[in-house]
């Protein structure tokens, strides 16, 4: 019987096992189905997604930076260029003993502790097959010395790059500006993809205004990399489009000359061509070497520049706001004539001071003894303050404001260099708005002689002078002459031409005649400046008070600090009949306009107009 039981059990066990096996198979089959469903999801449904991820894994985009456009002066003299700069790089995996290599290298090339430290730090963060820079800006001698011993240093390479260089140093630095490393603020205003391979960007001046043209368009190369980032091959390459070269209206010879004429005085000069608005020289002195900024200026040098009392970093031509002083008189006079407030023949008597009706305060003339009987021409020629006090009062502040505004005072000229200051042309509404005070008649008087609230920039003054010279043709002053793609200025800067209303041409001629008398007349304030000139020039002196003198106080240059001395101004254009050059010069704390600024302007115009001198200018 036990045998039978065993058989029965055997059959039962066999069936049990069979059942269990089938259950196991079904479960296994279901799991396989689940797996296949997952695979279909990954490989069919989401296939595209994973292909993208796979390509992203292996394909890297490497930006190729475009070469920056060059900047030339109007005669093709190079003002900003790209020079090769050499850096020393070491590839870790090719070097057997890094310390020995560094020691041997330091016998050839100056390697400071700070270089070594930075290099060691970078080395740890970089994959062993990628080169790590050790030194930047090797000089030619170091490059040559290394080249000779190159074979002794496997894995060490000199790599050439381009770096911005300003061959003329500080020349026209306030117009040119400079490039510097891209910082966080720059990143906010640029198209980062176009700048992904670029390290430098225009920071100031033309380099900044014409950044879009100069930079060019970045290219890229598509490379296949492995997981470590080692490049295996290049799949596609789109070459960068280099930046455009641009040509400036500035004449480097004249610019050099003008800067030399300044002879270390602090101030600004704008020289422009009245017919075109082309700026021939853009001078703000003192300047500085823009090359210092290209690859990061060291802290001490920068501090010295910042703390220099003459503020070399300050762009006086563009941002310096000065009282125009007597240089405003021709414009005030012209405004009065055109508005028929006076005629050229009306005259008043100048006793050396002026008093408002029913007021005690005396407004002094610069000439204590007075000028005697003055008409429009003599008042401009001799710069009679009393005449203009009276004229301003007759015009009233509103008319004064409006006629000066026509010439662009108190408003940015729109020059294609960013950062221009607007100056200040006071008005009733301005005073109400900013000071919540009514306008007082006394303020009208001093506005009439370019003092008080009124402020102008050198570029404004030069532009107004050019407008006067061309009988009302107002052109936005500019430094761009042309670029490869044409001469259009970039967005935001418009070179516009407009014609001021001219009531009677004779009024203009009267004022210009008076300005000619300033230089060439017997009693002109700048008569010494006009001596022996081969051409006729029209000008106006200006002496701007930096601080107000009390009524009876006497100005004595000797006793007051340099910083508080008067600014010396002169505006001029020449030749009178066919103006080819207009100039505005301001010398900070220089003293009287006739003594300092006027002779400088004469030198400037001489160099531009006199043929023999222009020969001299040719390099």
């Amino acid at each position: 019987m036990p045998h039978r039981v065993t058989i029965k059990d055997y059959l039962f066990e066999s069936r049990l096992f069979m059942r269990r096996t089938v259950v196991a198979l079904i479960i296994a089959g279901l799991l396989f189905v689940g797996l296949i469903a997952r695979l279909i999801y990954l490989q069919v449904v989401d296939h595209e997604h994973y292909v993208t991820l796979s390509d992203e894994n292996r394909i890297k985009i490497q930006p190729l930076a475009p070469n920056r456009g060059l900047i030339f002066d109007r005669n093709g003299v190079i003002l900003a260029e790209n020079l090769p700069s050499y850096r020393l790089e070491i590839t870790q995996e090719l070097v057997k003993d890094m310390d020995t290599t560094l020691d041997k290298l330091s016998q050839l090339i100056r390697i400071q502790d700070i270089d070594r430290k930075r290099f060691k730090k970078l080395l740890k963060q970089t994959p062993h097959f990628k080169p790590v820079p050790l030194r930047f800006h090797l000089n030619d001698e170091e490059v040559a010395r290394f080249a000779v011993d190159r074979h002794r240093f496997p894995g060490v390479d000199i790599v050439a790059g381009l770096t911005r260089h300003y061959p003329n140093g500080a020349l026209a630095v306030h117009a040119l500006g400079y490039v510097g490393r891209i910082d966080i603020r720059d990143l906010q205003r640029i198209d980062t993809s176009n700048y992904s391979g670029t390290t430098h960007i225009g920071k100031t001046g033309i380099e900044k205004t014409y950044e879009d043209k100069l930079h060019g368009k970045a290219g890229y190369s598509q490379v296949e990399t492995n997981a470590e980032g080692r490049i295996l091959r290049t799949l596609e390459r789109v070459a960068p489009i280099p930046g455009e070269n641009i040509t400036l209206t500035i004449d480097a010879r004249l610019q050099t000359r003008v800067e030399a004429i300044f002879n270390n005085r602090a101030g600004a000069a704008i020289v422009l061509e009245p017919q075109t608005g082309d700026i021939l020289a853009f001078v703000s002195m003192p300047g500085y070497d823009p090359n210092l900024f290209v690859n990061g200026i060291d802290v001490k040098t920068y501090r010295d520049l910042r703390n220099n009392i003459y503020q070399p970093l300050f762009n006086r031509a563009l941002r310096g706001q000065y009282p125009p002083g007597s240089t405003i008189k021709p414009f005030v006079g012209l405004g009065a004539l055109e508005q028929h407030t006076v005629t050229a023949h009306d005259s008043i008597f100048c006793p050396g001071f002026y008093q408002l009706p029913r007021k005690d305060r005396k407004y002094r003339d610069w000439k204590k003894t007075g000028h005697g009987t003055m008409s429009m021409v003599s008042a401009i020629t001799q710069s009679c303050d009393v005449y203009f006090y009276d004229l301003a009062l007759s015009m009233g502040i509103d008319q004064l404001h409006d006629s000066l505004a026509l010439f662009g005072f108190g408003k940015r000229t729109g020059i294609d260099i960013s950062g221009e200051a607007p100056g200040l042309l006071p008005s009733r509404s301005w005073k109400r708005k900013t000071r919540d005070q009514p306008w007082y008649p006394g303020e009208t008087l001093i506005t009439g002689i370019g003092q008080g609230f009124m402020l102008t920039t050198p570029i404004q003054l030069a532009s107004a002078t050019a407008t006067l010279a061309t009988y009302g043709q107002k052109i936005t002053p500019h430094v761009i002459l042309s670029s490869q793609s044409g001469s259009e200025p970039p967005a935001g800067t418009v070179i516009s031409t407009s014609q001021l209303p001219v009531n009677e041409l004779q009024h203009w001629q009267t004022v210009i005649h008076a300005m000619q008398e300033v230089v060439h007349g017997k009693r002109g304030t700048a008569r010494r400046t006009g001596q022996n000139a081969s051409y006729r020039m029209a000008g106006k002196t200006g002496t701007a008070q930096v601080f107000g003198l009390k009524e009876e106080e006497k100005y004595d240059a000797e006793t007051i600090a340099e910083k508080l001395r008067d600014h010396s101004l002169f505006i001029a254009f020449a030749p009178v009949n066919n103006p080819q050059i207009a100039v505005a010069v301001i010398i900070e704390n220089g003293g009287s306009g006739s003594a300092v600024a006027a002779p400088m302007v004469r030198q400037i115009i001489d160099s531009w107009l006199a043929p023999e001198l222009s020969q001299e200018l040719t390099p």
Partner: protein, 374 residues
């Protein structure tokens, strides 16, 4: 008994090469196909390394030879030795814990001077053998006390191996033992109870886990939170498989593996290389081969003539399935990363020998059958 054997031997019609060599043609065919396919994938995964290819060939040779040798052993002989092998295995496991070499942060190896030996590998076969031996002694389905004893027989080596720590192997051994119990007719009520207690025990298991094991589970749940650390494996392998598409990028053309984005591409993650280069089609082909092997193994088990052989054979077939489902589940991001190779395809020695020894046992079971009188 000997009479039947003689009958079998004398039956000329059955004296084909399979019974002479004690090999099974279907299994042999499936295993060979999988190995050859595996060699192609491995060649690509190792960047066309001939050295690796030759080493793998040698290993396959050793593994197939082991299978052939084991196939010659009678199941009865194996059964007789089962308790002794189990005892030796336990002693060796203890020895590993005490004297073992540390390889890759875990104690798995026993250095016998002339050979480095991994006792846990042996236990992959010995544990199901032991449970089958124990259960086949009495009628099936087993009673509760016997189930508990069987559970203990499984638990002791599993805990010892888990402490090495080698979670993958201990899980595999636990499931091999469990399959024996399941096939022996473990009642569904008990199975449900086991499921519930496993769910309840998970937090306790979590408590005993090593930090790297916890990290793996955590990574499995949130791979994208650590894309460059532990989640990297799963993300990259999904990219490899997904980008392969239906027909793959072509043999030797997989970028994920060749550009070294895919880690462990020749070992645990080789399935991703297959998916990338041969696509869904290639994967289905391999799964088909595997299915042939599994179904044939289970068929052999059902045809076995005694309980021991049936239970052992069934367990071996199902364990093979577990290998595949755990590895592919891990590579496709369905399961946490558990270090298990893809059988016959992954590069690696010891586990392949063990695996093939298991198929040797299956072949032995099938070719040593006695022809029963009707």
């Amino acid at each position: 008994m000997s009479q039947y054997i003689d009958m079998g031997r004398n039956d000329a019609s059955r004296r084909d090469w399979q019974s002479v060599l004690h090999l099974d043609a279907t299994l042999l065919f499936g295993l060979t196909c999988a190995s050859v396919f595996g060699l192609f994938v491995l060649f690509s995964a190792t960047d066309q390394s001939h050295t690796t290819l030759i080493r793998q060939l040698v290993r396959l040779g050793v593994a197939f030879a082991t299978m052939a040798v084991i196939a010659q052993l009678r199941p009865q002989w194996l059964m007789r030795w089962t308790p002794w092998l189990y005892g030796i295995g336990l002693v060796l496991l203890l020895a590993v814990l005490i004297f073992g070499d540390t390889g890759k942060g875990a104690q798995r190896w026993l250095d016998l001077g002339f050979i480095r030996f991994q006792p846990s590998e042996m236990m992959k076969l010995v544990v199901p053998m032991m449970v089958a031996w124990f259960l086949s002694d009495k009628g099936l389905p087993p009673k509760i006390t016997r189930i508990l004893i069987a559970g203990l027989l499984i638990a002791i080596p599993v805990v010892l191996i888990a402490r090495q720590p080698d979670l993958g192997t201990s899980l595999l051994i636990a499931s091999a033992g469990f399959f024996v119990l399941f096939l022996a007719g473990l009642s569904w009520k008990l199975l449900a109870g086991l499921g519930v207690s496993a769910a309840a025990g998970a937090p306790i298991l979590w408590h005993f886990m090593h930090s790297y094991q916890r990290q793996r589970v955590y990574t499995f749940l949130h791979p994208e939170q650590d894309p460059l650390g532990t989640g990297y494996h799963i993300i990259q392998s999904k990219i490899a498989i997904g980008s392969g598409g239906t027909f793959g990028k072509g043999w030797l053309n997989g970028t994920q593996a060749h550009l070294e984005f895919l880690p462990e591409s020749s070992t645990d993650f080789i399935f991703a290389v297959l998916g990338e280069e041969f696509g869904l089609a290639g994967i289905l082909l391999l799964l088909l081969i595997y299915t042939v092997i599994i179904v044939r193994s289970l068929y052999i088990a059902t045809q076995a003539q005694d309980t021991y052989c049936r239970l052992l054979g069934g367990s071996l077939g199902l364990t093979f399935f577990i290998y595949i489902i755990v590895n592919t589940g891990m590579v496709t991001g369905l399961l946490p990363v558990v270090g298990l190779p893809l059988p016959l395809v992954s590069y690696g020695g010891t586990s392949m020998v063990t695996l093939m020894a298991g198929f040797g046992i299956l072949m032995s079971i099938h070719t040593h059958r006695k022809l029963l009188p009707t």
